[in-house]
Amino acid sequence: MLKILEGRERQIQRKGEEPFAMDCGKQSLAGSVSQRACVFCGSRVVLYPIADALHLVHGPIGCAAFTWDIRGALSSGPQLHRLSFSTDLREIEVIHGGEKKLYAALCELIDAHQPKAAFVYATCIIGIIGDDVDAVCKRVSQEKGIPVLAVHSEGFKGTKKDGYRAACDAMAQLIGSGSTEGIGPLSVNLLGDFNLAGEIWMVRDYFKRMGVEVVACVTGDGRVGDIQRAHGAALNLVQCSGSMMHLAKSMKETWKVPFLRVSYFGIEDMAQALYDVAKFFHEPEMMARTRELVKEEVDAIMPRILEYRRILQGRKAAIYVGGAFKTFSLVRALRLLGIKTVLAGSQTGNREDYEQLRELCDEGTIIVDDSNPLELASFLEEKAVDLFIGGVKERPIAYKLGVGFCDHNHERKEALAGFSGMLNFAREVHSSIMSPVWKLTPRNRDAAQTVTPVHACDAGCNPSDDTLASTAVLAVPRDLEASVSKEQAL
């Protein structure tokens, strides 16, 4: 087994062993080959989907080149966010400063593309060469008459989480500058959904059917104008809490907009999110409509989900994703498919997240913070998993070992949120695990000689169990208070 690096021992635990508080939220250990990116990455992923803004990366070319059109974040209108703009600093500017070039670049790009706002991402060397990005932004903003916002995202100044914070700080400057006229009392902002593969459109449709108005999507299919009037909404719904909690808290403080943590992944969590909103608004009719909606949606997908469950029952999965909150949803969604999670980890979870994860998971599950390829590979081998859920950097680890893989990251082009997303997820998990190619891969070929393969309906897959799975979601929703964590008491 792999020897864990000194300094990382308190970031890995197994349920069933003596529990301890994870030593997370710290910078990645040098040389550990962390799967995390940097402060810039955190800012860039959060702001990326704002489609009518100019996103200008200030620095040498790499940071802009590596983030050009890489996400599945869709826009229903402008596509400006899919272009990559860089000041492409050269040695001469590193010596003499990049402010002049930044000013000229901003002016020419704003003239050419007429964005509603501009975000300027300061990368690693900007502070070091002494550029006053704020001053340049202020000047251009005055000259061009649009908000021009500096995002202080120097890669080395913290972790990806600090990048989220810098992005939230930039957006906080927009909020409050738009008119809230015409916004009704039953209104929400959707924070932390990035409209990958059109997911936010599905979620918006649910709210429309419930009678809830969506004011601003932050940031999936995002628009500057909507964000400017986001303070007029009655409630913030925070998915991807790691990235958006800072904005939610600052809006609560400044604009008295309360927030709820939600997740749109998996039937249970999606239903819970809708029930929580209905309960928040204290509208009996809305609750009735919500129940109707959930029943309709669940009924539409459940027969096929159960078909997949019959086939997938008893399989084992590993999860390693960016945010811990998504991990909870995935554990539950996999459970619905009869799949046991044997490894659950994230890049940016906090102590509470990991405690909650430990409670949620089965005995023996490995819980890991800020892992790396060698650890992940050794966990996959140790647990003999059938499926790995992660992002592009995790994929080759799984594939090399002949393990099925499901992309649940920003690059994906499959909608996995909402009720129909759960069916897509089940379909993808099924096609990942059941492909005949695994019969040919060396690890499974070797294993097949000693281990009996899992057959459909091997365990716990009887009709009453199926009924349980669907009624659990349709039953009285989990108590609202119970689903709100201490830190965000309304």
């Binding site: 792999l2 020897k3 690096l5 910078q27 250990l29 040098a30 040389g31 550990s32 080959v33 962390s34 799967q35 995390r36 990116a37 940097c38 402060v39 810039f40 990455c41 620095g59 040498p60 070319i61 790499g62 590596f66 983030t67 050009w68 059109d69 272009l83 990559s84 703009f85 860089s86 492409d88 050269r90 500017e93 070039k101 000229a104 020419e108 050419a112 990368t123 690693c124 060397i125 070091i128 060469i129 890669g155 080395f156 100044k157 913290g158 790396n372 060698l374 050794s378 996959l380 081998e381 592009v392 950097k393 994929r395 680890i397 090399k400 070992l401 002949g402 060396p442 690890r443 070797d446």
Partner: protein
């Protein structure tokens, strides 16, 4: 030659910013090159994000594990220097991976704050004098200086500079192929094997970035040029270095010539018949062996195919973009089959691109038949394309949006290929590579003609 291609370029607003870059940063090239050394781990001295972004970018093309370590700078290291981080990082990478070699590439951050990596490595060696350390060497790859291609070549030079030693002359040839595909590297090895000439190929990521499925995870994938082979490069018969746009005195080939007297023969990337002929002539001359019959046959079949397909391609207009030397090679190929590369564009800025294009096209750039753009980005290319009305684009997958906008097919070559699988298996070089390219170009044009036809003949 149609009149429009010879018209002077219309004046467009000159953009100071880079819009959809047609290049990447230098450390990425360093990481790729280091992946081609046996038992090596690439190590970036700088922020964590650089390593992660490059890993994602490289993985998406090769679809193979690509571990890159970093010294993970924080604010303290940015102010007081990253020596501690570098030392801890090297220690941790060594503990986890047990590498034979760690290649340390700098980033914009460490170059800007003026880190003296050589000194830091010296301190690390001294502090660990008791333990057996992996081979360590540094390369300077500031991302504000040059592109990924420059980073690649700088790293190959640094590897040779750090390892190569003087040795007794042996009948062995060094080949420095530049940034080509694993399939290209495998084919080069096959050619030399058939000539029965020992070869040192540097770098060689033909296995490390296109390896087999495994039963157990390999910390460092098998394959790559062994350090011992690099050490012996000083005793080779000669070096063949591919690239017409390389700064002549700054390459690994130049270093081997200066330091060890190993003659450096500079060739273009062997793409198309004529550039490949030059390679075979060089090998024949150096080895004293004739071109093997199977290769002569391959060449013969290629020319036969050129004849079969010539009418479908003649007079077609192509835009070629990407790494400068790949652009030169493709231009040589296109010109010899009757396609006019109306625009040759690259994000690189060697200041040698136009001259190199002239060398392989009898002066078509100087004659104004081919437009050449260094320092181009994809918006520049798109704007040129709107005027030039090409029939096809040839380059990496980042030109897809431009091709789609123009409504013309894209022939995918080079790096990166992020929207198809098999980028690592695209063969560009040699007679066989030209055969594959030619078939694809002809069939793409035929398909277009067939699809556009109202009749839809099934017999073309």
């Amino acid at each position: 030659m149609s009149a429009s291609s010879m018209a002077p370029a219309k004046t467009r607003p000159h953009f100071l910013s880079t819009r959809n870059a047609c290049k990447l940063c230098a450390p990425l090239g360093a990481c790729l090159a280091l992946r081609g050394i046996e038992g090596a781990i690439p190590f970036l001295h700088g922020s964590q994000g650089c390593a992660t972004y490059m890993r994602r970018y490289i993985i998406s093309h090769f679809r193979e594990p690509m571990d890159i370590a970093a010294s993970n700078f924080n604010e303290t290291s940015a102010i007081f220097g990253g020596g501690d981080n570098l030392h801890l990082g090297l220690h941790n990478v060594t503990a986890q991976y047990h590498p034979a070699l760690i290649g340390i590439a700098t980033t914009c951050l460490t170059e800007t704050i003026g880190e003296d990596v050589e000194r830091l490595l010296g301190e690390y060696r001294t502090a660990n004098a008791d333990s057996e350390l992996p081979e360590l060497f540094a390369t300077s790859t500031a991302s504000y200086r040059g592109t990924h291609v420059d980073g690649f070549h700088a790293t190959v030079r640094s590897a040779v500079g750090a390892l190569a030693q003087a040795g007794e002359r042996q009948r062995r040839i060094n080949v420095l192929p530049g940034m080509v595909s694993p399939a290209d590297l495998r084919y080069l090895k096959e050619i030399f094997e058939d000539f029965d000439v020992p070869l040192t190929l540097l770098p060689d990521y033909s296995e490390t970035l296109d390896g087999p499925a495994l039963a157990n995870y390999a910390k460092i994938p098998a394959g790559g040029t062994p350090a011992a082979a690099i050490r012996a490069m000083g005793g080779a018969l000669a070096t063949l270095e591919f690239g017409r746009t390389l700064a002549a005195h700054k390459t690994a080939g130049a270093l081997l010539e200066e330091r060890f007297g190993v003659a450096c023969h500079r060739l273009g990337l062997p793409i198309g018949v004529q550039e490949t002929d030059r390679l075979y002539q060089s090998i024949e001359k150096l080895s004293g062996a004739p071109t093997p019959a199977s290769h002569q046959l391959e060449r013969g079949r290629l020319i036969d195919a050129y004849v079969d397909g010539h009418k479908y391609v003649f007079g077609k207009r192509a835009i070629v973009y990407g790494d400068e030397d790949l652009v030169v090679g493709l231009t040589a190929f296109l010109s010899e089959i009757g396609i006019t590369p109306v625009l040759c564009a690259s994000g690189g800025e060697s200041r040698l691109l136009a001259r190199a294009i002239d060398e392989v096209t009898d002066g078509a750039a100087a004659a104004g038949i081919i437009r050449v753009q260094e320092g181009a980005d994809f918006m520049d290319i798109g704007e040129e394309a709107a005027e030039l009305k090409p029939d096809l684009l040839i380059g990496n997958s980042k030109g897809y949006a431009s091709a789609r906008h123009l409504g013309v097919p894209l022939i995918r070559v080079g790096f990166p290929i992020h929207d198809r699988i098999g980028g690592q298996r695209i063969l560009h070089l040699g007679y066989r590579g030209a055969q594959r390219l030619f078939d694809e170009v002809v069939n793409t044009l035929l398909e277009r003609k067939q699809d556009d036809s109202s009749v839809g003949y099934s017999y073309m």
